[in-house]
């Protein structure tokens, strides 16, 4: 009986430790999910965490305020990522390389700063900060087994687990989330693929994709509003290149959407696809 109680305590302890140690992984993974969904591979995650941890430590050690430390750590991580974003997005430098360079910068920079900030460190006077106190949730932490495993952690652990549904909602249920996810799908590559593989139009040059959004009332669902996010890619023919138009291309009729009432042209995507396929089949039969 005593032995099984001990075993249960060990198992509970192991499981609780698993939940606790998953906190940094969870924060990192959630952040990476958002950037990857937007099409940016953030290889600098390690460096971002290291920098934020170091700044948080410095602030906690100097101010003795853990709340201030956590807030400044978040700001530091954000600023660090901003450098990465400037390099990778604004300057269009390779994302992987930028991330690796930022990791090197963080590992060297934090050690450098640490040695400057704490020059005379001996083992006795190692700088220490207080730990975040566990924050057992009333009632829930009283549940046998589950209480100590799930509901007796510090605030950051709860925050990490709470962020999972929040970020899910943000990515899948909001306008901004839809924009982020669509960005990651590489609209230029998709446009290129359609032009070259399906339309057989080679030699086109494609612009950088741009995002446009529109709200309209679909013809088939009167009284309901429809929200669209488009990624527009312009293709143009470079000077001196001849692009062969498919034979059925001329048969397609195009309307300038600005000349039409919104309800006329804003149809479901399947309508457009059906019209296009119809035109292609007819041209195949004709030719």
């Amino acid at each position: 009986m005593g032995e099984s109680l001990l075993q249960a305590a060990v198992v509970i302890n192991v499981l609780a430790t698993m939940v606790r140690t998953s906190t940094p992984l969870l924060f990192g993974a959630i952040g990476e999910v958002v950037t990857e969904r937007s099409g940016v591979m953030n290889m600098g995650l390690e460096g971002t965490m290291l920098t934020a941890a170091f700044v948080g430590f410095l602030v906690a050690e100097r101010s003795h305020s853990l709340l201030l430390a956590v807030v400044t750590a978040c700001l530091a991580g954000g600023l660090f990522s901003l450098i990465l974003a400037f390099m990778a997005i604004t300057l269009d430098v390779d994302q992987i390389i930028t991330g690796l360079a930022m990791n090197l910068l963080a590992s060297g920079g934090t050690l450098f700063w640490f040695r400057i900030a704490y020059t005379q460190t001996t083992s006795q006077e190692t700088p220490l900060v207080a730990l975040l106190k566990p924050w057992p949730i009333p009632l829930l932490s009283e549940i046998p087994y589950l209480g100590p495993i799930l509901f007796s952690h510090n605030a950051l652990t709860y925050l990490a687990f709470l962020l999972v549904p929040v970020i899910w909602f943000g990515l899948y249920r909001t306008k901004r989330g839809l924009q982020i996810r669509s960005l990651g799908e590489d609209p230029r590559a998709a446009a290129k693929r359609i032009a070259e593989d399906i339309l057989q139009m080679r030699g086109l040059q494609f612009s950088e994709p741009r995002v446009e959004t529109d709200l309209y009332e679909p013809k088939r669902f009167p009284g309901q509003m429809h929200y669209d996010v488009w990624f527009l890619v312009d293709a143009r023919v470079p000077a001196g290149t001849k692009v062969d138009l498919p034979s059925w291309y001329a048969e397609l009729t195009w309307h300038d959407p600005r000349d039409l009432p919104a309800a006329e042209w804003a149809r479901g995507h399947e309508d457009v696809a059906a019209r296009w396929l119809h035109a292609r089949n007819e041209s195949a039969q004709g030719g």
Binding site: M87, V93, A101, N103, G108, L111, F112, R115, I116
Partner: protein, 357 residues
């Protein structure tokens, strides 16, 4: 309203060697300025800091040789990165392939310890290449067969091989007389001979130089190199041209891995003389940075690696002479690379003056 000049930023159609030199100059000046700022933050005289850095890296013959020793693994991992990245195969697994090469090379040594020196060293070099290449091939096969991004697999394989090493060093290959997790010292016949008598500069440096020339010839002058470059420019088009994309990816991973494996053997048999987790100080990752610094040009890898080796070596003198932490050098390396990357992006644009017509 005519004739009002406006500035317009436009992408240059061709980025020539002049722009490359401009970018390099821009990067070096920028990195020097930021480094000087960091030295000031550390309460040191920037000029004294740079002097110490120079004296500790190339200021005298012995330290210059030591800088070259530090450059050896970086040349090899840098070349391994270059060959893979030129074909747009993102091998981030140099670190793991380095350890894999060291493990197989050590295995060759413990299996045939009594061979004469020359055949033993040739055997070690061969096994190092095979080990690194096979570890690279694992990620290559996963990419080709299952279409899994090689960035992820190579990074994960880096962790796996370190744990395999730890397993071997806590068991069969452990030095029973040592407290640390490391193998016994290798015999004198397996230690790489010095390239210059009385110095620590071992034959790994010659291997690195030969490899640099070999990779240059491979990429620029052979049919395989043409396929690699075609793959790097446009994988889809390369496929249409009849280039066997999957096979080329596998070959790239093999070549890249074997170079990293050589770096591992060089550190084991030329520098530390024992197998331990500390034979690589992140050389695989630094190799990627060096490859980017060299603009993925095989022959430029050698000076870039020597520059980095010199910085690392000079950091000790920097710390002794000015009290500035040696870790500054890692930051300097990263800042140099970031400035160079930013500089290359900047010089690919030009400012045009447009007049409204």
């Amino acid at each position: 309203m005519t004739g009002r000049p406006r500035w317009r930023l436009a992408r240059r159609p061709v980025v020539g060697p002049r722009q490359q030199v401009q970018a390099l100059a821009l990067a070096l000046v920028g990195a020097a300025l930021v480094s000087a700022l960091l030295l000031r933050v550390a309460n040191a005289d920037p000029v004294a800091g740079f002097v110490a850095l120079y004296q500790g890296s190339f200021g005298s013959w012995p330290v210059a040789v030591e800088s070259l020793v530090k450059a050896i693994p970086l040349i090899l991992t840098g070349l391994g990165t270059t060959v893979a990245f030129r074909g747009r195969v993102w091998n981030i697994g140099q670190e793991g392939q380095l350890y894999a090469g060291a493990i197989t090379a050590y295995w060759a040594y413990v299996t045939f310890p009594s061979l004469p020196r020359l055949p033993l060293i040739l055997l070690i070099l061969t096994f190092a290449m095979v080990g690194g290449a096979l570890w690279g091939l694992v990620a290559g096969i996963i990419r080709v067969k299952a279409h899994v991004d090689e960035i992820i697999t190579t990074i994960m394989l880096n962790y796996i091989v370190v744990y395999i090493l730890s397993l071997l060093l806590s068991g069969v290959w452990r030095d029973p007389t040592s407290y640390y997790q490391q193998s016994p010292t290798v015999g004198a016949s397996a230690q790489f001979p010095a390239l210059i008598d009385g110095t620590r500069l071992h034959i790994g440096f010659a291997v690195g130089l030969i490899a640099a020339i070999a990779i240059y010839v491979l990429i620029e002058k052979t049919p395989l190199g043409y396929e690699i470059r075609a793959l790097g420019l446009n994988p889809t088009a390369a496929g249409f041209q009849g280039i066997h994309v999957a096979r080329t990816v596998l070959v790239l991973m093999l070549v890249s891995g074997s170079l990293a494996g050589l770096a591992g053997a060089g550190e084991l048999f030329g520098n530390h003389y024992r197998l331990k987790a500390g034979i690589s100080l992140g050389f695989g990752y630094t190799g990627i940075i060096i490859a980017m610094l060299a603009g993925l040009e095989p022959l430029a890898i050698v000076p870039a690696a020597i520059f980095f080796g010199g910085l690392v070596n000079g950091s000790y003198m920097l710390q002794i002479a000015t009290g500035v932490p040696a870790a500054l050098v890692s930051a300097i390396q990263a800042i140099t690379l970031l400035f160079l990357l930013g500089g290359r992006a900047a010089v690919s644009y030009q400012i045009r003056i447009v007049r409204d017509g």
